[in-house]
Amino acid sequence: MSSRDLILTRIRRALAGVPDVEIPRAYRGPSTASTAGGSPGSATGGVSGRPDDRARPSGETTVPPGARAEVSGEGTGASGETTRPSDEPTEPPGETAEPPGARIRLFEERVGDYRAVVHVVNEADTAGRVARSLAGRGARRVVVPAGFPSEWLTDADVEALADDPPLSAVDLDGVDGVVTTCAVAIAETGTIVLDTGPGQGRRALTLVPDYHLCVVRAAQIVAGVPDAVARLDPRRPLTWISGPSATSDIELNRVEGVHGPRTLEVLIVT
């Protein structure tokens, strides 16, 4: 008997007569907006089971001008961190009636809790903010994955490296940083998720360089983990990122920066 059959036989013998259980799902599920695309479980057929534009929805219109002004980190100085709200925990947003501004603010605060650098900018200021961030970092040679909006790089004085032909791991170790978009972002946990879609590139691009600048559109920010799971396609390689690389292995003191990018900078475009 093969080990496969042996194990399966042992399992069936162990479970004879054991009743099944119902799964109660009384926790906060995805809000209705983010389930519109259907669940991957129900998706059948090819790899493109969901709308291809999910990586960059046109989100500008969802944020009222008032909220935009209120959350903008620009105009008060180039350093976004100083404009973050206080560290007091914010009530997690409700599921449907929540104003987009509150969700953006929560995401901004939660990303900042991981000691990532966060800025909130409007569309028109994005290229300028990208340029200032890269310059502030002293980044000269920067990886730019295919599909990263070129208008966001117009002001930046950098050598943009395409991953074509693919850069080797050693090449990537020698660059100053990487700029990407993301697939979805989660307000409650301050997480960005990459799915190697347009503007994100393969997984190594956001791993080996020591600096990662991620541009998130406000409409990509969902309320909680269930919303993100509903939006993502598991057939793509996924990387969930919550702050810079960190460890708590030494006396449980959190130290930012081990093997992944030691600096994570997030730009929220409203």
């Binding site: 093969s2 080990s3 042996l6 194990i7 399966l8 042992r10 399992i11 162990a14 479970l15 099944d20 259980v21 119902e22 799964i23 109660p24 799902r25 009384a26 926790y27 599920g29 995805p30 669940s39 991957p40 479980g41 925990p89 997690p92 939660r110 809790d113 791991a169 170790d173 989660i186 409650e188 301050g190 393969r202 997984r203 190594a204 791993l207 080996v208 269930p226 799971v229 509903a230 598991p234 057939r235 390689p237 996924l238 990387t239 969930w240 919550s242 702050g243 690389s245 960190a246 460890t247 708590s248 292995d249 030494i250 006396e251 449980l252 130290v255 920066g257 081990v258 093997h259 992944g260």
Partner: protein, 471 residues
């Protein structure tokens, strides 16, 4: 019964290990500091989730349902992984899993592999098995690196070097890094940031050049064939992304039915484990991606035996968060090594004897490594009733002969009221001769307790003599 190997020798019983551990004041200081820190962090992020109780209930039920249908979900997982270009192997025990992995590594022609921290590969002693085949396994998680460089053993599920403080870690790095690769900087301090930087430099080159990686997985999704690894440092991403061949050794109980189920576990695990809203990095991949070759090794190694146990099978719901270790008053004082298994703490006290069987004195003693306070049950994100399983296992273990003889004698005495009366009379007369400490094997009882005073006469004698107090 076959003996299941759990990565550590099991020669001494828990009380002897514990007695030695509690005399180590440095260890107790390190543990106390670490467990308190993480307890507070967990409590704060759990209190923040308004639906924690509902998530926990869903987590429990999903795992219970999965175990009930484990054969079906494993076959579904195998189909999905295969369809996505991966290869699936089945290992009935540790030896078979080690053989499979060694064979896969040899087939690549490589003699070095990088490893992501994994409980399953520790459990089967994979590193030692590979070494016998001429393959060097490099641990890349910071704590595992500390353990490997120090030729030490892990003492915590999440933070295997929790028993080491920064000064000890600095010493280990300074002395042993050069033997494994790039030496530690000469001016290394014991600042945690400097130590982390030394680990970054030490491993960087290794990540960039090693062609084979070995990992475990936190979850494997049957519906889609997706593997999920949660981590903090980025060493996991390095191993999962850069090498040409990836081998994941995963216990059969790690499967989850659907992609959607992750919405529950990605909330339960980080908050219970590191006390964060979300861990820094989570990688998910389905089959062979980005040109990589992918092998999944599904491991039984005693799990089906646990599954057959009506009370004990809930142990297989465990997602290895280690919250139960961090709240346990026994673990906080003895540390992980006393448990003689890669699975320490309350979960280890029920998992180890079930996986390994209760053949050794250590494994029979583990269900007693608890005060039954219930804190472990309270924090468990999948509601494993650890105290009940402990009590059940206590009843099953073969008790020491002195205890069995004592119980048999007590049974004989209580069987007839005349025997009890005669014994009580004899006891009353000889009460002056009862020692404060019992002799021989009975001393174990009086070492930690006072003997009750033997009364001059029994209640029945008193009643007869005084007619219920009227005379």
């Amino acid at each position: 019964m076959t003996v299941t190997f759990l990565g550590m020798p099991a020669d001494r019983p828990f009380p002897r290990n514990a007695a030695r551990a509690v005399r180590n004041s440095q260890l107790r200081f390190n543990l106390r500091k670490a467990t308190r820190t993480i307890r507070a962090r967990r409590a704060s992020v759990v209190a923040e989730a308004p639906d924690w109780a509902e998530l926990r209930e869903a987590g429990r039920a999903i795992k219970e349902h999965t175990l009930r249908n484990l054969d079906r979900y494993l076959v579904q997982l195998e189909e999905a992984v295969t369809a996505a270009g991966g290869h699936v192997h089945w290992a009935a025990d540790a030896a078979e899993a080690n053989r499979i992995v060694a064979g896969l590594v040899k087939a690549t022609g490589e003699t070095e592999v990088v490893k992501v921290k994994s409980m399953a590969t520790q459990e089967i002693g994979l590193n030692e098995a590979l070494r016998e085949q001429g393959i060097t396994a490099y641990e890349t998680d910071l704590a595992e690196l500390i353990v490997q460089l120090g030729d030490d053993r892990p003492s915590h599920i999440l933070v295997p070097a929790i028993h080491r403080n920064r000064a000890e870690i600095r010493e280990i790095f300074s002395e042993h890094m050069s033997g494994w690769g790039r030496p530690a900087p000469g001016d290394l301090t014991d600042d945690p940031a400097a130590l982390a930087e030394a680990a970054r430099l030490h491993l960087r080159e290794r990540f960039l050049k090693t062609k084979v990686a070995i990992s475990g997985a936190n979850f494997a999704i049957a519906e889609t064939g997706t593997m999920v690894v949660l981590e903090s440092e980025g060493n996991g991403r390095m191993c999962l992304t850069l090498p040409r061949t990836l081998i994941s050794v995963v216990g059969i109980e790690k499967v989850l039915p659907t992609w959607r189920d992750l919405e529950v576990f990605l909330q339960l695990l980080p908050r219970s484990s590191t006390g964060e809203r979300m861990n820094p990095y989570t990688s998910m991949w389905t089959g062979a991606v980005e040109g990589q070759e992918f092998h999944l090794v599904l491991l039984d190694n005693g799990r089906t035996r646990v599954l057959a146990d009506e009370v004990g099978r809930q142990t297989l719901r465990c997602i290895r968060c280690s919250a139960c270790l961090n709240v346990c008053p026994v673990y906080e004082r003895t540390g992980g090594h006393a448990y003689g298994s890669v699975y320490p703490g309350p979960i280890g006290a029920i998992l180890t004897p079930q996986l390994r069987g209760m053949g050794s004195e250590l494994d029979r003693s583990l269900p007693y490594a608890s005060s039954l306070c219930g804190a472990c049950y309270e924090v468990c994100p999948v509601a494993i009733d650890i105290p009940s399983v402990l009590v059940e296992l206590r009843a099953r273990a073969r008790h020491p002969w002195a205890e069995r003889a004592g119980m048999a004698a007590a049974g004989w005495v209580f069987e007839r009221s005349g025997r009890l009366a005669r014994l009580q009379r004899a006891g009353g007369r000889l009460r002056g001769l009862v020692p404060r400490r019992l002799p021989g094997p009975l001393a174990g009882w009086t070492d930690t307790r006072d003997l009750p005073e033997v009364p001059k006469e029994s209640f029945r004698e008193w009643w007869d003599r005084t007619d219920g107090g009227r005379r």
